[in-house]
Assembly symmetry: C2
DNA sequence: GTAAATATCTTAGTTGCTAAGATAATATTA
DNA sequence: TAATATTATCTTAGCAACTAAGATATTTAC
């Protein structure tokens, strides 16, 4: 038997994740990125440049899939390939942050201002609560995922 | 220029959504559902039975894709097809909740108890804050998605 | 009763994935 | 140093699930 609160939060949480992915997919499609590529573009922006192998590890995609992914990004001018100076086997992927921003910023504009507004409606203390919840929930989900993957 | 708080929350939020999807995908894979099928199984559980067309609308998949989706679920005994009595063109998809639960419950067990624990560490007032944030953020994301889709 | 609309299924073609192996560069070792 | 092993990425073949378009079956409208 589980508490009503837990059920409510769990449903909201699932819906939140789903809605968020849905929105990001819609925005990506409008920006000319069909499928799930935008998900990986996010990594590149957040982490900055990285090698193809690192992206493969991070995403769980095979190196072959990553090759195709970078090809598609490169063709759109969103990233550049560059051999590493210290190891010429490595391919460094350099996100072209400016062109990425130019592509996505207008689509996120309204969302951002509304989010800003929503956050402004909470006190600092309340925001801290939200942050704590997010952080700890992320930790729990990662633990669950890792435990399931390593056995 | 955007506030630091907004940036922090936005990153946490994206990470939350990504981690959540990642966990659900891992659980689904362990349950023998590769790809993204589990996402749609969630709809069936939450909404109960629905027609193929409704599922198509809800998911944004074409009717052809939905046919394949139901085929895969049916083959695994997770849903049943049934013609609607009032309109024999319609196919009602009936989720077999018991077999779905039996498949997934053990994989979610530990996650649930940890979530329960996490939630217990917040006061009722704080939980209300989290719920409010989720609800309103979902609303904003849906608005954004709808606005982008209808133009 | 015929025509139009609707709900689902089928088919052909596309996309992006994995797995396995090829290629090129680097590290190791005798 | 030369031979061998390892590493990083790319290429290829095969596969799964998608879309778009059209087929089929049923219902609705005239």
């Amino acid at each position: 038997m589980e508490s009503e609160v837990l059920t409510r939060i769990r449903k909201l949480s699932q819906q939140y994740a789903y809605t968020s992915i849905q929105m990001h997919e819609t925005i990506a499609r409008q920006a000319g990125l069909p499928g799930t590529d935008h998900k990986y573009l996010g990594f590149l922006i957040q982490k900055g440049e990285m090698t193809a192998g690192e992206l493969s590890n991070l995403t769980g995609l095979t190196t072959g899939a990553v090759t195709g992914l970078i090809d598609r990004f490169e063709k759109k001018g969103l990233v550049k390939r560059q051999f590493a100076e210290d190891d010429r086997r490595k391919v460094i992927i350099k996100p072209n942050t400016e062109s990425i921003m130019a592509l996505f910023a207008p689509l996120y504009k309204e969302f951002r201002s509304k989010s800003q507004e929503l956050l402004a409606s909470f006190s600092n203390k309340e925001i801290k609560v939200i942050e704590t919840y997010f952080s700890k929930a992320i930790e729990i989900m990662n633990e669950t995922t890792n435990k399931l993957n390593n056995k």
